[in-house]
C-alpha cells in the first residue's frame, strides 16, 4: 500500500521539484555554505586557507580603515537611493498615467539600458565626463570654462554611476505600485477639495509606500556592492564595501576575510528585507 502510494504520488512531485531543488542546492545553498565555512577559516603565512576555526576574520572587520569605508559606502548608497527615488517617483508616475503609446516608449527607456551591459554603460559615462570627454569639450567650446574640470574620481561620480545603473530597480517597483492605484481615487480627492500636493501626500504616497520601500532596498543594497562603478568612476577615491570584498579575493588574497565581509553584507540584506516585510511590504514587488 505505502509502496504503491510512493510510486503514484511522490514520483511526479520528485520529478518536478527535484531538478529545481538540485539547481538551488548546487548554485545557491552549497556556495553560500562554502562562503560561510570559509569565513570561519584561518590562513597560513602563505595566504593559504586552512580549515581551522577562528573568529579573527569577523574581528578584523572592525578595523578603523574598514569602518571608514563602511560609512563612505553607506553614504554613497544613501545618496544614490535618494537620487533614484526623487527622479524615479515622478518618472514612474508619468509612465503609469500617460496614454498607451507614450507609456511603451517611456517603459522602453527604462528597460533597454537595463538589458545592456552595465559595465559598458559605466565606461560610457567615463568617456562623457572625462577630462577630454564630451562634456568638458562642450563646455570649453561654449567658453564656460577655460580648462577641463575634473568630474570623475570623486564620490559624486560614484553616486551618479550607482544611481544610473540601478535606476530601473527603483522605477519598476514604483511603477507596479502606482499602476495599482485607482485613478478615480485621485479624482475623489480633488472632488473633496484637495489640491495636487495634498492628494499626493494623503492618497498616492500612502498607497505606494510598499513600492518606495522595495525600490529603495533594491537600489541601496547593490549600491553597497557594485565595486566596478566605484573603480571606474570613483577611481579609488570612493570605495564601497564591494571593493573591500573584491580586494580580499584578488590582490589581498585573504579569502576568509572576504567571505566574512560577504556574510555580513548578506545578513544586512536579509535584515532589511525582513524589516520591509514587517512594514507590510509584499515580497512580489521585490521580484521574489
Amino acid at each position: 500500500m505505502s509502496k504503491h502510494k510512493f510510486r503514484a504520488s511522490t514520483l511526479p512531485v520528485l520529478a518536478t521539484v527535484g531538478p529545481v531543488s538540485l539547481w538551488l542546492a548546487f548554485f545557491v545553498a552549497i556556495p553560500l555554505l562554502y562562503v560561510l565555512v570559509m569565513s570561519f577559516c584561518s590562513i597560513d603565512e602563505n595566504y593559504n586557507v586552512v580549515f581551522q576555526f577562528t573568529l579573527a576574520n569577523y574581528r578584523n572587520l572592525l578595523d578603523v580603515n574598514y569602518l571608514q569605508i563602511y560609512v563612505q559606502s553607506i553614504l554613497i548608497a544613501f545618496f544614490a537611493t535618494a537620487f533614484c527615488l526623487v527622479l524615479g517617483y515622478p518618472f514612474a508616475f508619468l509612465i503609469s498615467r500617460t496614454f498607451q503609446s507614450r507609456k511603451t516608449i517611456l517603459y522602453m527607456m527604462v528597460i533597454i539600458p537595463f538589458w545592456t551591459n552595465s559595465l559598458i554603460r559605466i565606461y560610457g559615462w567615463r568617456t562623457f565626463l572625462g577630462a577630454s570627454g564630451w562634456l568638458n569639450r562642450a563646455l570649453t567650446a561654449l567658453h564656460l570654462i577655460d580648462s577641463p574640470v575634473e568630474f570623475l574620481f570623486n564620490r559624486g561620480a560614484t553616486v551618479l554611476g550607482m544611481a544610473y545603473v540601478l535606476f530601473p530597480f527603483m522605477v519598476l517597483p514604483l511603477y507596479t505600485a502606482i499602476e495599482k492605484l485607482d485613478q478615480s481615487q485621485l479624482e475623489v480627492s480633488a472632488d473633496l477639495g484637495a489640491r495636487g500636493g495634498a492628494t499626493f501626500f494623503n492618497v498616492v504616497l500612502p498607497q505606494t509606500v510598499s513600492g518606495v520601500f522595495s525600490g529603495c532596498i533594491m537600489v541601496f543594497i547593490p549600491s553597497l556592492g557594485y565595486f566596478y562603478v566605484a573603480d571606474i568612476l570613483g577611481g579609488g577615491n570612493s570605495d564601497v564595501i564591494g571593493n573591500l570584498i573584491e580586494r580580499q579575493f584578488q590582490s589581498g588574497n585573504n579569502w576568509p576575510l572576504g567571505a566574512a565581509l560577504s556574510i555580513i553584507l548578506i545578513a544586512v540584506t536579509l535584515l532589511l528585507v525582513k524589516l520591509y516585510q514587517k512594514c507590510g511590504g509584499d515580497m512580489q514587488s521585490l521580484g521574489v
Binding site: D182, S184, Q185, E187, V188, S189, A190, D191, L192, G193, A194, R195, A198, N202, V203, P206, Q207
Partner: protein, 369 residues
C-alpha cells in the same frame, strides 16, 4: 419654475477625438430638485456628469453652478461633490478617515470634524462603524460611506453616477428609498445618473432622457411615461406598441392615422393632415375582445401568453406580422391562436412627431454612406 436654476448647462458639446459624445446639451437643474439623467449605456451620461464635476472640459458650451461660470474652476474649487459608481473609497483610511477627508482638506478644526462625521454616520445609518476599514464593509455599507463622504462638505450639488448599480435588487430598492429620504432631509440638489428606468421613475422629481449624446426629453416622471416626446423615449421608458403612419383626418383634438393595419385613432393637438407620425399605445392600455366589437378595432391572433405573477402578458400578431404587446391583470386566459380584436381609448394613444434629430440622424447616415 418656482425655484431658480442652480446648475445651468448651456449647449455643451464633447468630442473624444472625432467621437461626438455629448451633443448640444442644454439643461437647467433647479435648486433642491432630484434630477435623473436616464439613458442607455454609452449615451454620454457619465461624460456629462464629469464635465459638471470638472474632471472633463466641454469642447464647447458653458456650465454654471449658482450663477458662476465653471470654465476656469478646478474640481477642488467647485461646490459640487460626486459619488462614484465604483465607490472609490480610500483603502488605507478607516470609515472615519474617508468621511473626514473633505473636512480635513478644508482645514476644519478637529473637534468639529469629529462631530460632523459622527452626525453624518448616524444619518446614513452607519453609527459605530467609524473604525472599520473599507475592506471590512459590505457593498451597501461601502456605498453609504461613499455617499456620506460626498455629503460631508455640504455641497450645493451632489452628483451620483449609477451609485446603486453594483448592489443586489433588494438592497438597491432599500437604498433608493434612503437616498430619496436623505435628499429631502438635506435639501441638496441631486443629479443622479442611471440606465434603470424604473429607478428613474420612482426617485426623480424630473427626468432628463438622453440618447446618443442628446437630450430627448425633460419632464416629470408622469409626463415622460405618458407623453413621450420621441420614439426613443416611448420605447426606452416602459414597454409600448408603436405604429407608424400618416395623419388622415383631424377633427378638433381627435386625430385619425392611417397605418398599415388600418386606420387608428388618437387624441392630440397640433397635428396636420398628411403629417408622418408614430403612435404609441402602452400594453396596459390595450383593450381586447374575442368577438368583433363596434367601432375601431385591429384584428390579430394570440401568439403567446406569459404569466408574471400579478399580470398576464400576451403577444398578438397582426396580419402584417407586426407584434402587439398586451398586458392585463391576471384573469381569463385568451385562447391560443384564436382571433382577438384590439382597441383603445383615443386618449391612450400618444402621437409622436418624428423629431428633427431623427431626421438629422437619417440625413447624417445617408451622408456617411
Amino acid at each position: 419654475m418656482s425655484k431658480h436654476a442652480l446648475v445651468q448647462i448651456q449647449k455643451i458639446n464633447k468630442f473624444y477625438g472625432s467621437n461626438h459624445v455629448v451633443r448640444d446639451l442644454t439643461l437647467d437643474v433647479r435648486e433642491g430638485e432630484f434630477l435623473t439623467i436616464l439613458g442607455s449605456s454609452g449615451c454620454g451620461k457619465t461624460t456629462t456628469l464629469r464635465m459638471v464635476a470638472g474632471f472633463e472640459q466641454p469642447t464647447d458650451g458653458k456650465i454654471f453652478v449658482g450663477g458662476v461660470d465653471m470654465a476656469e474652476k478646478e474640481p477642488y474649487e467647485r461646490d459640487v461633490n460626486t459619488v462614484f459608481q465604483s465607490y472609490a473609497l480610500f483603502p488605507h483610511m478607516s470609515v472615519f478617515g474617508n468621511i473626514a477627508y473633505g473636512l480635513r482638506m478644508k482645514r476644519i478644526p478637529k473637534k468639529e470634524i469629529r462631530k460632523r462625521v459622527m452626525d453624518i454616520l448616524d444619518l446614513v445609518q452607519l453609527g459605530g462603524f467609524e473604525r472599520r476599514m473599507p475592506a471590512q464593509l459590505s457593498g451597501g455599507q461601502k456605498q453609504r460611506v461613499a455617499i456620506a463622504r460626498a455629503l460631508i462638505n455640504r455641497p450645493k450639488v451632489l452628483l451620483l453616477d449609477e451609485p446603486l448599480s453594483a448592489l443586489d435588487l433588494k438592497l438597491r430598492k432599500q437604498m433608493q428609498l434612503e437616498l430619496k429620504r436623505l435628499q429631502r432631509k438635506l435639501d441638496i440638489t441631486f443629479i443622479y445618473v442611471t440606465h434603470d428606468q424604473e429607478e428613474a421613475l420612482s426617485m426623480s422629481d424630473r427626468i432628463a432622457v438622453m440618447h446618443d449624446g442628446m437630450l430627448e426629453q425633460v419632464g416629470v416622471p408622469k409626463e415622460i411615461y405618458e407623453a413621450p416626446a420621441s420614439k426613443f423615449v416611448a420605447t426606452f421608458i416602459g414597454e409600448t406598441n408603436l405604429f407608424e403612419g400618416m395623419v388622415s383626418a383631424v377633427d378638433g383634438d381627435a386625430v385619425s392615422v392611417a397605418v398599415e393595419s388600418g386606420t387608428i385613432c388618437g387624441r392630440a393637438e397640433g397635428f396636420q393632415k398628411g403629417e408622418v407620425v408614430a403612435v404609441s399605445v402602452r400594453p396596459e392600455r390595450m383593450r381586447y375582445s374575442t368577438s368583433p366589437v363596434k367601432g375601431f378595432t385591429i384584428q390579430g391572433v394570440v401568439r403567446e401568453q406569459i404569466y408574471v405573477g400579478s399580470v398576464l402578458k400576451s403577444i398578438v400578431v397582426l396580419p402584417n406580422g407586426h407584434e402587439i404587446k398586451l398586458e392585463r391583470l391576471a384573469g381569463d386566459v385568451l385562447p391560443m391562436d384564436g382571433p382577438v380584436y384590439l382597441s383603445w381609448q383615443p386618449q391612450d394613444a400618444r402621437l409622436i412627431h418624428p423629431r428633427d434629430q431623427e431626421v438629422y440622424h437619417a440625413v447624417e447616415t445617408a451622408v456617411m454612406e
